[in-house]
């Protein structure tokens, strides 16, 4: 019953998407408003249909319908309720349907919110978003069907099918429950539970600005309407993507037990690539809005964001990465590739067509090397270069060597650690300098004067850090650059508040809040910059100054690492948790200068029912802003555990990475929400009065 309903709902959503494409197209051709309205309704109806489809899987998971192949493979009778729900995106078939579900939510929200404001663009937005949705639904219907069930034919062959084949019977429910797979233990972590949906929301969200851009090209409305309409969607997508990346890092840190959060693994990089293009786009689109420049570049960037999203989905979903061989292996690889190719060809064709008709001509010329627009272009160049070098290291080198050199070359962490830091450093320099420069022309002297105070503050901050932790000149320089970028954000906000306080006589709090209220994008942007700077300081600290040691301790003994002492106190053997896992827990205390700081419980979990991976090492960590003491239980005497072996890391400043992430999120919310509606009625961007408003 569940499987049939879910399958039919998915099929109907697929039909609705196709219908929307056709009617939107016909409606614009014939100028028939009724047809376009019908396309809109079809777009909206896809969402409830997919809600039903996903609900069927969730109900199946909760009521343990193991006859459904997907449910059999991601859950078992011991799986806790919470993880049953999240198992919806625990594996391939479910997560593709879930992807479509989120996509349908975004496309519904777009047609509802932007319908009145952007009537001319809407039919094309519908065509593009529904084409993407229809494609992903086709993947669910024809390649990775989450509604398939096990059936036993009369000749006792087991087959997978949504509907009951003639004469077939369902397998015994007891045997199904006994053999069900259970969720991979690694995925039982809050970070892993929210991480995929956030990432998908980010991926899906970037389809919206892409659809608006293509709608502008197709409809010929090449004003800034598409940018205004899609701006918040872009910011929302960027927010989710950032959140997804941060949560992914947190998950790796908590669960993978190597004391780090970013391993330059190709799958991680595949999720980072859309973020890089998206961030470049967020910046360069402001230049178009304010100065009417970079129109063609923005079109290519938004195309690039779309490609990176499809590629990211593909790379994280298809197992491309171990070896390029998997490209052919994965069932969804080729359909995805051809879909991407088709959409990209159409889109690039549209850009070139409008370009050659002279409709994407810039309204201003570049006036000086230090002008804000030039620095933004430089920022874009660096983002795209970062994209290129990371893509090359993760995917380019393996693919090229395979195709042309008849060998397979991969690049490890060393490559990324050598190539990316200089580029990140340039980005931080630009982050410090660009907000201080002006549109048009800017002199070096003026820029230097504006930069002086933040730069001096950064020197003080770096010197303070060097007092506590001796460091090389290179590291100090890195800290200084990142600090300067952060200080610029803080100092500019401070200057704005002081100016309001003095100029308008507002109280400090009022001055602060109305400063943000008046120009959310600019000051929200500063908050984001501050967050990124704090993340940067955390990354430098935890990468350069990480300490590690491992030792076997008898009960009562302790080991030293840095200023800390870690003492092995006791062992709790074979504790059984609610979900049936068996836990071995070491009780450990962390001391510094003779003072007890914390009692930790690093442990080792064993899942007796899980197939495949069945054990997990959970670190105990004592966290302060200054340091994380991260303790792993790596071994113990089987009887009595009078001795146990620990691996201990001290990770300085690592918490700044998470705190910086929270600040970044807060800044994005400020920039996204509650801003005055992007009204077409206000002054057009070319008007001199808005020149000061950076965005």
């Amino acid at each position: 019953m569940l499987a049939e309903v879910g399958f039919i709902a998915t099929l109907l959503a697929f039909a609705a998407a196709l219908y929307a494409i056709v009617t939107a197209f016909a409606g614009t051709r014939t100028h028939n408003d009724a047809l376009i309205a019908s396309a809109r309704n079809a777009t909206i109806v896809a969402f409830p249909l997919l809600l039903v489809a996903c609900a069927m899987i969730v109900i199946g998971l909760l009521t343990q319908q193991y006859q459904m192949v997907y449910i059999w493979s991601v859950s078992d009778p011991q799986t806790p309720t919470f993880f049953r729900i999240t198992a919806l995106w625990g594996s391939q078939a479910g997560s593709i349907l879930f992807w479509s579900f989120l996509m349908s939510f975004f496309s519904m929200a777009v047609v509802i919110i932007n319908w009145r404001g952007q009537r001319r663009l809407m039919p094309y937005v519908i065509m593009y978003t529904m084409a993407v949705l229809a494609f992903f639904l086709a993947l669910s219907l024809f390649f990775e069907n989450p509604f398939e069930r096990y059936w036993i034919l009369q000749n006792s062959e087991v087959v997978k099918s949504v509907f009951q084949p003639a004469g077939a019977v369902p397998p015994s429910s007891i045997r199904l429950a006994e053999t069900a797979n259970g969720l991979n233990p690694l995925l039982r972590h809050f970070g892993m539970i929210i991480h995929p949906p956030m990432l998908y929301l980010g991926f899906v969200g970037f389809i919206i600005p892409f659809a608006f851009a293509m709608a502008a090209l197709a409809s010929g409305d090449l004003s800034n309407a598409w940018i205004r309409a899609s701006r918040r969607w872009t910011l929302a997508a960027w927010l989710f993507l950032s959140l997804g990346l941060i949560l992914g890092g947190r998950w790796a840190y908590d669960v993978l037990g190597w004391g780090g959060y970013w391993g330059w693994d190709p799958v991680e990089n595949a999720a980072f690539l859309p973020w890089l293009v998206g961030t470049a786009f967020l910046h360069s689109v402001m230049i178009q809005e304010k100065r009417g420049m970079l129109k063609v570049w923005n079109m290519f960037l938004v195309n690039g964001a779309f490609s990176a999203v499809i590629f990211g989905t593909f790379a994280t979903r298809s197992g491309l990465v171990d070896s390029v061989h998997s490209f052919a292996r994965s069932e969804i690889g080729f359909p995805l590739f051809f879909f991407w190719l088709a959409v990209t060809l159409v889109s690039v064709g549209l850009v070139i067509w409008r370009w050659r008709r002279g409709e994407l001509r810039d309204e201003h010329k570049f006036a000086g090397l230090l002008s804000r627009e030039s620095l933004f272009v430089l920022n874009n160049v660096i983002f795209i270069l970062l994209f290129a070098v990371i893509f090359w290291g993760s995917f380019g080198a393996p693919i090229v060597s395979e195709l042309f050199m008849n060998t397979n070359i991969t690049l490890g962490r060393d490559y990324f650690l050598a190539v990316t830091p200089p580029l990140f450093l340039i980005l931080y320099i630009l982050m410090g300098v660009a907000p201080l420069s002006a549109w048009g022309v800017m002199s070096l002297k003026r820029l230097g004067r504006a930069l002086a105070i933040p730069a001096v503050l950064a020197v003080v901050a770096t010197a303070l850090m060097a007092l506590f932790t001796p460091m090389t000149v290179g590291v100090a320089l890195g800290y200084w650059v990142v600090w300067t970028a952060g200080m610029v954000a803080v100092y500019e906000t401070y200057r704005g508040v002081v100016a309001r306080h003095k100029g308008l006589g507002e109280g400090w709090y009022k001055a602060f809040t109305s400063l943000f209220a008046r120009n959310r994008r600019r000051y929200g942007g500063y908050v984001i910059h501050l967050g990124i700077a704090i993340i940067g300081i955390g990354v430098i600290g935890s990468t350069v100054f990480q300490q590690e040691t491992q030792q076997t301790l008898a009960v009562g003994q302790s080991l030293r690492i840095g200023d800390y002492q870690v003492q092995y106190d006791n062992f709790l053997d074979g504790q059984i948790a609610d979900d049936g896992r068996v836990m071995q827990i070491a009780q450990v205390s962390v001391w510094r200068n003779g003072q007890l700081l914390a009692n930790l419980r690093p442990r080792h979990d064993f899942y007796p029912n899980a197939k495949g991976m069945n054990s997990q090492t959970i670190a105990g960590a004592y966290s302060t802003i200054e340091n994380d003491v991260y303790v792993l239980l790596v071994g113990w005497e089987r009887i009595g555990a009078s001795e146990a072996t620990f691996k201990v890391y001290v990770n300085p400043l690592i918490n700044l990475v998470w705190w910086g992430g929270l600040i970044l999120i807060a800044g994005t919310l400020v920039a996204t929400w509650g801003a005055p509606l992007p009204a077409a009625k206000t002054v057009p961007a070319e008007q001199p009065s808005v020149k000061g408003a950076i965005a």
Partner: protein
């Protein structure tokens, strides 16, 4: 919009108009310097970071790769895993994974079962035994093969195919009743 002038003196005091060609040259120079620097970084990074990804057959079949840092992939034989947790030494054997027509889990399963598949002993020092190191996992190893045929891995990556078809649902479920 109500942007207030004192928030940012946005327009520079003296908008000097320079010839466009001059600006263009400057942009070209800056762009060229950046591109050249990044290209140099990428090339040196690629040369020093490149690891040949080869199969176990290729590695054990000749002494071509002895002493050279390579990456190799193989299927872990669970019965051979030895872990000295005090000194953090992991030892195990991996088998050559053949072509399998699409199913990684099945390929790993067959590789470990096949008595004729090329095998190689692996030694990893100073690392905690990863949770994923288990029977029929795919190991991706970076390191060097020594003269005695032992592979000293400095990096150990493990993948358990998430669709574990090896569990053979057909066999498990097939019996009616």
């Amino acid at each position: 919009m109500s942007e207030i002038a004192w928030e940012k003196a946005a327009v520079a005091e003296s908008p000097v108009s320079k010839p466009a060609a001059n600006i263009r040259t400057k942009f070209m120079i800056v762009g060229f310097v950046i591109l050249a620097a990044v290209a140099a970084l990428v090339i040196s990074g690629t040369v020093s970071g490149a690891r040949f990804f080869i199969t176990i057959n290729e590695l054990v079949g000749s002494d071509k790769y002895v002493g050279q840092v390579v990456r190799v992939t193989g299927a872990v034989d669970g019965q051979t895993i030895k872990y000295d947790e005090k000194n953090l030494i992991i030892e195990f054997t991996v088998a050559h994974v053949g072509n399998d027509g699409g199913d990684l889990a099945l390929a790993l399963h067959n590789a470990v079962k096949d008595p004729n598949a090329a095998r190689m002993n692996v030694r990893v020092e100073g690392q905690v035994k990863p949770d994923l190191l288990q029977h029929e996992a795919q190991a991706i190893l970076t390191g060097k093969l020594d003269e005695n045929g032992v592979f000293h891995a400095t990096e150990l990556l493990l993948k358990c195919p998430s669709r574990f078809e090896e569990a053979k649902p057909e066999n498990a479920i097939g019996k009616i009743g």
